[in-house]
Symmetry: C2
Subunit: 127 residues, 2 copies
DNA sequence: CATTTTACTTGCAAATCGCAAGTTAAAAAA
DNA sequence: TTTTTTAACTTGCGATTTGCAAGTAAAATG
């Protein structure tokens, strides 16, 4: 794992099965993507970006160690998966799993809220 | 401001008007509540909790210094406001503004996602 | 007035962040 | 095939943030 990148935070228990703060689906979701960067990676995936470099090119400028850590975490959570960029290539592209694609509603509601309440914001993601 | 609690993170510029990483409504929203605790406070507000002590009583166990910091930040963002708990009382209750109430869709989509994909989670928030 | 409750603040060690630089393997070019 | 470039990370490290525990002061209660 990427050193110096760190987890989002430490859940209460570390044993397999329940590293959760509570059984609340919201807190559980936040344990997975409750930080400033993870949903931006997922946004980028919805926008068609798929390579490590694509994510670093986004305007928010995610540091590469954070990106490494978050991608690893998303893979572990089954929200993204990897496939070869071309047939037989060793280079991998990231893409959303069904679990990840199901975050569309979350992204869209956040986008809509931001567009309504934060002046000067502009959308990139379509319905 | 609560010392030792800290901001969620430092945006690029600190001058009034644009402490944003990008004009993306999602990244802008994450600048306001992209952390592990803020949306849990908002969830609690939707659930009818309104006092400092109520928030600390939630099962996730938010530390009081973090709670202070997040409430201050939410007030500053116009997502929550304060009113006296009783007429003439000095004690204040927190409640969602219209801007805050508009986060209902975000909370609900996160809840639905969690319920669908994270086994063992249970809902508390109604539609 | 004494006690309890509420709403915080403070201190501090540990964890995380984010910048900059370094590394390595794969791909492309020559 | 050798060289060059690009992609995808990793590492180091200072600064910031987190979270636990303890302390405090004002308000409410008895």
């Amino acid at each position: 794992m990427a050193k110096g990148a760190g987890k989002i935070s430490k859940p209460v228990t570390e044993e397999a099965g329940s590293p959760r703060r509570s059984p609340c689906p919201v807190s559980c979701a936040l344990d997975l993507f409750g930080d400033r960067w993870t949903l931006l990676i997922i946004r980028d995936l919805f926008l068609g970006r798929s390579r490590f470099k694509d994510f670093t090119a986004s305007p928010e400028g995610i540091p590469t160690n954070i990106l490494s850590d978050r991608l690893e975490r998303l893979l572990e959570a089954g929200i993204v998966q990897q496939i070869p960029v071309a047939d037989g290539s060793k280079r991998m592209a990231y893409e959303l799993t069904e679990k990840g694609s199901d975050l569309r509603r979350v992204l869209i509601s956040m986008r809509n809220w931001g567009l309504k309440w934060e002046p000067g914001t502009r959308a990139g993601l379509d319905e």
